[in-house]
Symmetry: C2
Subunit: 202 residues, 2 copies
Amino acid sequence: MSNAKGPDHSRRKERSRQVILSAARSLVAEQAYDKVTVEAIAARAGVGKQTIYRRWPSRSAVVFAAVLALSEGADGQSVALPDTGDLESDLKLVMRATAEEFADPSFDRLLRALNTEIANDAALAAEYREKLARPLDEAKKARLRSAQEAGQLDPDADLDLVLEVLYAPLFQRWLHRGGPLTPAYADALVDATLRAFGPARP
Amino acid sequence: MSNAKGPDHSRRKERSRQVILSAARSLVAEQAYDKVTVEAIAARAGVGKQTIYRRWPSRSAVVFAAVLALSEGADGQSVALPDTGDLESDLKLVMRATAEEFADPSFDRLLRALNTEIANDAALAAEYREKLARPLDEAKKARLRSAQEAGQLDPDADLDLVLEVLYAPLFQRWLHRGGPLTPAYADALVDATLRAFGPARP
């Protein structure tokens, strides 16, 4: 049934979706978030407001879809963490890259908008965990399990807790602008995490 | 000059401030945050919108002041951490209380509103650090320094990092609704922090 309008219709629909999501991302990157309305997104995308509301129920939903679309097409492979056999240097590589990403101004506003939406909407928070956070966490945990097998991490460690201790300080420092996100800071988080969950626990 | 209108005027002004801030807090606790407008706060407080705008430039500023007012009158004493000489049990007491506070629904919405404002406004984030976060952090660091002197914590530990490793996982789990905030979770954070920064570092 939905194909009755033909492949051209589907392509146009998908193209319009991409134009709207791209407009949402560029507006969020440019403006104070409370100025980013559905009206403003529609104007930037060159569509009517109703075209947006036919697909998404609210600004929250459009902005969330806009962020989600950035990771479309990324398969499991692309989020896998490096595994050279040296947990400490692999994690430092990853955490330095993460710190750099959070410190990037064009990424910063988009991430703040996403966090505003998920902080205030439990359903979006669940969708965020399911579609964005969980696949990334699973990739990270696969690396940690490999370290457990190699005797570089406590085999009994709760890997969700390990990830929280590793990432949450960086997240909170970024969200509250509490301090610089330097390579040295990234390294210090890896060092603390490995002391907390390394194999040589007392 | 400002006293020319007399003490009655000052008292009325202060009373009106308290009524407005209390109205802001109760609205935030009851409603979706994007429904909490300056108009709604004014209506709840029984004042004109201009009465609010004469004091505060924006919704952000009123909500921030409303949260800040909760800790008015608290002196240094009241934020001091327990110091029984046993760092582990003192921190577990504090972290269990913190987890309980974050899990309290009436506190939850107010804290989410505060975090929304400071995430999207660098000036408010700085004011938050100065007026709310720093005094609390100083009290916590005083307890950690006492533990360093007692040989219960690495004397070279960066105390800001210690606080981040201890608190940020709880904060992120709460903000993203990523899991339960139980006493066992609070304890696990203290255990991980003490392993990371305890005196017996390799």
